[in-house]
Symmetry: C2
Subunit: 210 residues, 2 copies
């Protein structure tokens, strides 16, 4: 008998992130073999290679086709669009390999930007000079201009972002692998590691898919 439960999948550059009735499962792309199956899987995918392969599997349904793209812009990543679709009002920060910051007002996408993820920027600093090999300080006092090296790097990567995000005077939502670290800075933010799946469900609802 075919399962009637809803299966969502967020496909990134390195993992397949499944979501079934609130239960998440992460599988490395290298370890996941696509197989013919009856199970409908509603997905979004930023991995071009996997995206091409999935076209051969009719039970995998690309949610990008159901997004009202007039609200966004052509080259905007579907992962960013999905987290935007999860909220009606707010700034959503998705802190993964990149940190995307997107502003949504009354259900409309206002705009957004893409900063480097914490590990990418740390790696870039050490690539400039071993003297810049500092860990970020999530206890930093952002009301002061830094007077030590650790804070000098943290301020540039997290402090500038914080100041900008707070300037919109909107609720802040945090998701992605580094969200718990950023929560130390964005103390009033809502931490939600299911934001992308909520957004995917909202896309499905708007398209009468569920």
């Amino acid at each position: 008998m075919e399962s009637t439960r809803l299966t969502l999948c967020d496909i990134g550059n390195t993992t397949f992130d499944f979501y079934r009735e609130g239960v998440k499962e992460k599988i490395a792309t290298a370890d996941y073999e696509l197989k013919k199956s009856e199970e409908k899987i509603f997905y979004i995918c930023v991995n071009e290679k996997v995206g091409q392969e999935l076209k051969n599997f009719p039970n995998w349904i690309d949610l990008k086709a159901f997004v009202d793209m007039k609200k966004y812009y052509e080259t905007m990543g579907i992962d960013r669009i999905a987290v935007c679709e999860s909220i009606e009002n707010g700034v959503v920060i998705d802190a993964g390999s990149a940190i995307t910051v997107d502003v949504v007002r009354k259900g409309a996408f206002v705009g957004g930007y893409i900063a480097l993820g914490l590990s990418a920027s740390h790696k870039a600093y050490t690539g400039i000079s071993p003297r810049l090999d500092y860990s970020y300080n999530f206890e930093i006092d952002l009301d002061k201009i830094p007077k030590n090296s650790e804070d000098a790097l943290t301020y540039a990567q997290v402090g500038l972002l914080y100041r900008d995000v707070m300037s919109y005077a909107l609720p802040v939502y945090l998701t992605g692998g580094d969200a718990p670290e950023l929560k130390n800075i964005f103390k009033d933010a809502v931490l939600d590691d299911e934001l992308i799946f909520k957004g995917m469900k909202n896309i499905m609802k708007k398209a009468d898919l569920c």
Copy 2:
């Protein structure tokens, strides 16, 4: 006869930058051979290896020894200190392999931070995903939140910096290899590629070395 002209040298990770009576000369570290000489050379150096070698050459005089370090902090780069010493009031942006931003009020160092240089951040983006291989757009309108990929990256690397720098309501000074590009964003900034040498001379004047 010993030359009486003043020779300054700013030693970075990859070059020796000489300054003699307003004339600059850049020599790659790999191409420069240290030799015993009578000529006094007043230098600053962030290159640890070269710094060690220079201790064997008594005609090379390290200006770091003449800085009033109480004004700064222990691990602060001497290149940053030198540009701070060049101004009495302002925000000085040194845009090289890293972008340092330092605030000076009434001759006192208030604090500063270290962002990634333009080429380091571009490289870091492409390391995350080839989809993020965009050039920065120095014509960006920073009054709007971006709605295209090029601006989304530019805003994160340059826009956030711009907003922070302007918030100090101080004159802005630009120096370093990428200063001309940043001048497109910081339109009212003073572009000065001799800032570091001016700072070195100020350190010497305070120490009665010239």
